[in-house]
């Protein structure tokens, strides 16, 4: 950062002020979130097409998902959203301890989410419900079960990849927060990562009723 502003190590030289840099970053992350909505919209449309064509199949297949597991994962993600938003507050107020604590809880919740997802996936594999062509039919399975689960695996899988990416981002943020990089002047990375994390939460908010709560 030798070419940056001498009194502000994290202010890039092509920005006039921290506010200038923050606004540019904020616009960037919102444009990215816009593309994320479009990215997932294809999957929601695929879901709508298949569900409207096979309503009974979705009804029967949804019974193979554990509502309790899905609800717990929803709560885990909601808690992580709270701590992500709280982390932003702490960074804005210069509360380094609070920032570290909230980032750590967010990261722990992301890990917890993936652990629960792992148990759900392995349980499905145990029943022969593998993704796509690896699906193994059984007399206990309703008709076209694999169609529902192909959609389930792609939607929750892509969401899971986003959670994994978030875990990487929050690990990086935690390291920087411990180093003391952030404060009221410079908290853009915390704010932008929290926004990303919230959109991951929002997608799960829709996935949970669409996949688990078909009655």
């Amino acid at each position: 950062m030798s070419e940056g502003h001498h009194d502000a190590p994290f202010l890039a030289h092509h920005f006039e002020s921290h506010e200038h840099q923050f606004n540019a970053g904020k616009l960037g992350i919102w444009l990215f979130l816009f593309t994320e909505i479009l990215f997932f919209s294809g999957l929601f449309v695929a879901y709508a097409v298949y569900r409207s064509s096979n309503p009974e199949m979705f009804l029967g297949a949804s019974k193979f998902l554990d509502t309790k597991m899905g609800a717990i994962n929803t709560c885990v993600l909601l808690l992580s959203s709270l701590t992500a938003a709280w982390a932003v507050r702490c960074a804005q107020l210069g509360n380094r301890k609070g920032l570290i604590l909230n980032l750590a809880i967010t990261l722990a919740c992301a890990c917890g989410f993936m652990v629960i997802k792992y148990f759900e996936y392995t349980h499905k594999f145990h029943l022969g419900i593998y993704p796509g062509k690896w699906y193994e039919a059984s007399p206990d399975h309703p008709l076209h079960l694999q169609t529902f689960f192909s959609i389930y695996y792609v939607m929750t899988g892509l969401h899971g990849i986003h959670v994994l990416a978030g875990m990487g981002v929050f690990t990086w943020l935690l390291r920087r927060a411990i180093r003391g990089d952030f404060g009221p002047e410079y908290y853009g990375p915390i704010d932008f990562s929290a926004l990303y994390w919230h959109i991951v939460d929002v997608i799960w908010i829709f996935l949970f009723p669409l996949l688990y709560l078909i009655r």
């Binding site: 097409v49 507050r89 007399p139 009723p209």
Partner: protein, 146 residues
């Protein structure tokens, strides 16, 4: 850019008060409980509408408060609303198209005998109840003419 506040100390971030953060979270948890409870009331078709309405309220809470849109630049809200509108357009056009082909889909199901219990026959090697019913039906048995 905004004003002429070039000195670094002038930028005062808007920090969300803790009661608002925790209150939003509690509302989200309550709505999660509500949607699970409603799903078990066996309300029939309206169930889908209710669960989507609750999910939309939850997503709106997250976007407006956690994601700060309520106090943020309007352009960021335009991006979100624009994205959702495009999703709606994508969904609507595709669903209209799908409705249009419903008859040919039904006919395809009849022609190809898609009412077999196990459509994927290659993977059922355990031999539940004999192999005959898993074999594809001979061409001659198709009810509809070609």
């Amino acid at each position: 850019m905004s004003h002429d506040s070039h000195s670094h100390g002038d930028h005062k971030p808007h920090a969300l008060p803790i009661p608002i953060l925790v209150g939003t979270w509690l509302a989200l948890m309550a709505l999660t409980g509500l949607t699970v409870w409603v799903a078990d009331q066996h309300l029939g078709k309206i169930d889908f509408v209710i669960s989507m309405a609750i999910a939309t309220v939850k997503a709106t809470l997250v976007a407006l408060i956690f994601m700060h849109l309520l106090w943020d630049k309007g352009f960021h809200s335009i991006l979100v609303v624009g994205g959702v509108l495009l999703l709606g357009l994508f969904m609507a056009v595709t669903m209209f198209d799908r409705e249009h082909y419903q008859d040919s889909m039904d006919q395809y199901a009849v022609d190809h005998q898609l009412n077999r219990r196990y459509p994927v026959i290659e993977h059922t090697d355990e031999g539940h109840g004999g192999g005959e019913e898993h074999a594809p039906a001979p061409e001659g048995e198709a009810p509809a003419g070609h």
